[in-house]
């Protein structure tokens, strides 16, 4: 064998492109439909330990109690307070699209007005020096005809005074 053959390392490659179609479930599905149809954000409450969930959940993760049915859901937001944030500066391959993420992206944990519950979503602001915990923000929805019962029916949360 030649020296090159001795040191040559062979790799074998695979590129996955696999279609999936996930059921969103009765509660998350109804939450997404409300984003599309009414432009409203809903949360629900555990009648046992009083924890809220947004999007609403059928079962409490803390005490495993059945949470409030659809008729008792309460509207929260669209305004809220940033309690945690980051700005993503480095791109990576997004597994759901197969494309690289466009950066920078502001991400916030938003304590929504109306209930002690938070939602993770994009922030319009992408300069980390201009984002502070305690900052007030408001959800900006897509125009009604463009909404698709998708979490991005809310475009982002914009900074308000």
């Amino acid at each position: 064998m030649s020296q090159k053959a001795d040191t040559e390392l062979i790799t074998h490659q695979m590129f996955l492109k696999i279609p999936y179609s996930w059921s969103t479930g009765a509660y998350i599905g109804a939450f997404l439909k409300e984003l599309r149809d009414s432009g409203k954000i809903y949360a629900n409450k555990c009648p046992n330990c009083n924890r809220f969930r947004c999007p609403p959940s059928p079962v409490c993760g803390i005490c495993h109690t059945k949470m409030q049915d659809r008729d008792k859901w309460m509207e929260v937001g669209p305004r809220g307070t940033v309690i945690g944030f980051s700005v993503v500066e480095q791109s990576f391959l997004v597994p759901t699209t197969g494309e690289m993420l466009e950066v920078p992206i502001g991400v916030g944990i938003i304590l929504l007005d109306g209930a002690p519950v938070s939602l993770q979503h994009r922030l319009q602001e992408t300069n980390s020096e201009k984002i502070k915990a305690g900052m007030r923000v408001e959800a900006v929805f897509k125009p009604r005809e463009q909404r698709q019962a998708n979490i991005f029916d809310i475009l982002y949360f914009k900074t308000i005074k």
Binding site: L9, I28, I83, V88, L93, Q120, H121
Partner: protein
Amino acid sequence: MAQRVAIVGIGQTCHTSRRPDVNDGELINEAVNNALADAQLKIKDIDTVISGNMDFFEGHYLNDAMLADYTGARGKAGFKMNTGGTVGTLTFISGCYCVSSGLSDVSIVIGWEKHDEGPTTSCITTMADPAVDRPFTVGALLGMALISGNYMNRTGCRLEHAAMVRAQASENASRNPNAHLRDRYSVKDVLNARMVLFPLNLLMICPTSVGACAIVLASEAKAKRISKKPVWIKDHITVHGEYNGNHYHNQFDLPGFPRTTTQMMAGKKLLQRNHITEPLKELQVFEMYDPCAFVQMSWLEDFGICGEGEGWKMVEKGMTARDGVFPVSPSGGVLCTNSIGDSGTVRVAEAALQIRGDAGEHQVTRNVRQALVSGFGGAFWTDLMLLSKSLD
């Protein structure tokens, strides 16, 4: 535990960013052979084989089937773990269950990952609920960034302290021949690294490594015959959190609902039931699963090692250094070496080496009688293990 369990063999590969010279099986086989050699056993002496990694990282479904020849599983009991960051520790804990139940006398647990084969952050991202969480998820990194900022807000910790943690880790890793990132960095070097996602820069987050780690576990009767320096598993605990992918609600104080992490729950229970009231004295080393620089400080507090807001002060005072009064991750930790499926297994192995006095250049200066080991992963889940030199 019903039957006492001891670590009687430890084997690691060295860790690096790429190993194109071996396939997954060849990598694992190195660790298995090293652990069997350390225990002075042959594969026929093992009755249970448990392996662990994340299938999606390498793109091999059911890889324990494909790897049976290399793990030595033929004709033996065993199963496969696949639980994210905790996979390494949960693989170890599963081995403990098999022995402590009395169904197995000698088991081998193998954690491994070959991150040079697939897009790790993209794969981790698929853990999140696809409809509402995944669009915002950046692997494990976004959660780390959010709780790091929160830690600074809550306690007054600054970026400099995270840099001190990383500089200390680099000093430790430079002494550990099996560590991946072994270059030494100053606090200034760390602060000057490229931003990945605020407030975490490239040196404040763990790398993606290639490596495997195997541990041989034995029952009390067998362990005393096999090993002159058995390391006893005094206790272990696993705590899952509620799913928090969308809002990390247990990581933040919400009105009326204070922050409650799985580290808090695990630490409280484990320390309490082992009657540990002065952890800084009663535990001599902590090999922590520390995937980013801030959490090493934050989780010292959450585990109950020190009070809230004292973690960064411990670092500032040099208490967590290898030769400090409470060394944390003297191996260099996950911050310097992270083959996810073996990150937890390596923590256990490194803590056991400290108890045996076999850690070489990165041996701590304290006399180690008890060691704490943590695993982290999934939806902020925690494994916590207490290892001991003696059976008392």
